[in-house]
C-alpha cells in the first residue's frame, strides 16, 4: 500500500463520522439514483467495516464532507475526463472530499442486467476512489482494490489485506474487525 505525499488523512477524533452527498446537478440517467446510492453505500461499507469511521449520506450537498458527481470532459479541476473507458474516475486526497466519476462510462450495478462489453462496475470504482478520499494512493498489489486499473465487466470491491493494512495504518482498526479472522476466511476462500 502507499500513501499520498505528507500522508494526509481526515483529522478528526476517532471514531469519526464523514457525510457524503450526490451532486443533484451531476448525475447519470442510465442508472436510477437508488441504484447509485446503494452501490456507493456498499462501497463506503467496505471501508467502514475495517476502520472506526462511519459514513452517512446527507441531502445537504453544500456541507457534505464528500461530494460525489458524474462529469464529462473538462469539468474544472484540471483533470478532464476522456470519454468511454480510458480514465474511469478520480478522487482527491484528504480532506478535499471531491469524488468524480466519468459520466461517459457504461456504469453497471449488475452485469446480468447491463450486458455491454464496456460495462464498468460502479461499486468497484467507488470503493477504489473512497480509498483515495481517505488517504490511500495506488498500490502495486494487483489483487488489491487500490490497484489503479479495472477491466470492463470486472468486479473488485472486496478489500484485500494490502488495502486493510494501509487504511488501518491511517485510522486504526474498527473494534469489530479482526484481521486474524479476515486472514483465515480469506485463506479459506482461496483454498
Amino acid at each position: 500500500y502507499a500513501f499520498f505525499g505528507g500522508q494526509p488523512r481526515w483529522d478528526r477524533s476517532i471514531p469519526m463520522t464523514l457525510t457524503y452527498a450526490f451532486s443533484p446537478a451531476n448525475l447519470i440517467t442510465s442508472l436510477s439514483l437508488q441504484d447509485i446510492r446503494d452501490a456507493c453505500k456498499r462501497a463506503f461499507g467496505h471501508w467502514a467495516s475495517v476502520i472506526p469511521v462511519r459514513f452517512v449520506e446527507t441531502d445537504d450537498y453544500g456541507f457534505a464532507d464528500i461530494k460525489i458527481g458524474f462529469y464529462r470532459g473538462d469539468h474544472g479541476d484540471e483533470e478532464a475526463f476522456d470519454g468511454v473507458l480510458g480514465i474511469l474516475g478520480h478522487a482527491f486526497s484528504p480532506e478535499s472530499g471531491r469524488f468524480h466519476l466519468d459520466a461517459a462510462e457504461t456504469w453497471a450495478v449488475d452485469f446480468q442486467v447491463e450486458k455491454s462489453d464496456e460495462a464498468i462496475d460502479l461499486e468497484s470504482v467507488a470503493t477504489h476512489e473512497i480509498g483515495h478520499l481517505l488517504g490511500l494512493a495506488h498500490t502495486s498489489v494487483k489483487e488489491a482494490v487500490m490497484y489503479p486499473s479495472l477491466k470492463p465487466r470486472e468486479k473488485k470491491s472486496d478489500l484485500k489485506l494490502d488495502d486493510i493494512r494501509g487504511i488501518q495504518a491511517l485510522y486504526g482498526s474498527n473494534p469489530n474487525f479482526s484481521i486474524q479472522n479476515f486472514s483465515e476466511s480469506d485463506l479459506s476462500s482461496n483454498y
Binding site: 500513501f3 494487483k142 490497484y147 470486472e154
Partner: protein
Amino acid sequence: RTTPIYQDRTLPAKNYTYKWQNFEKFLDASRGSQVSDMSELKKYFHHFGYLKVEEEMNFTDLFDEKFELAVNKYQAKLGLPVTGKLDSNTTDQIMSPRCGVRDVPKMLHATRH
C-alpha cells in the same frame, strides 16, 4: 463437488475498444526504437507521474534513456516484471481502463510500505 458457475466474465482486450488501444503498436519497442506517435505514449507516462513536467514540451518519438527509466518505474510501481521494454504485460496494462489519479503524485512522492 458441483461445477462452479462463473457469473461474471472478463473479456479480452480485442472484444471492446480501449481508449488507449492505439498504444498496442508500441509492443516490443525498447531503447533506441523510433515509432510514430510514441510522444503520445510519453504524454500518458507524464500524466501518471512517470516523466517529469519540464520534459512535456519536448516529447519525441524516440525511445530514449529517460523513457526507459520511466518504463522501469512504471513496471516496478504496477508489480510487472521490470524489463525496461514495452512487452505485452506492460502494453496490456497501459491500455487498461484505470483511475485518473497519478501513480506518482506531483511534487511529493508517495510513501510506500
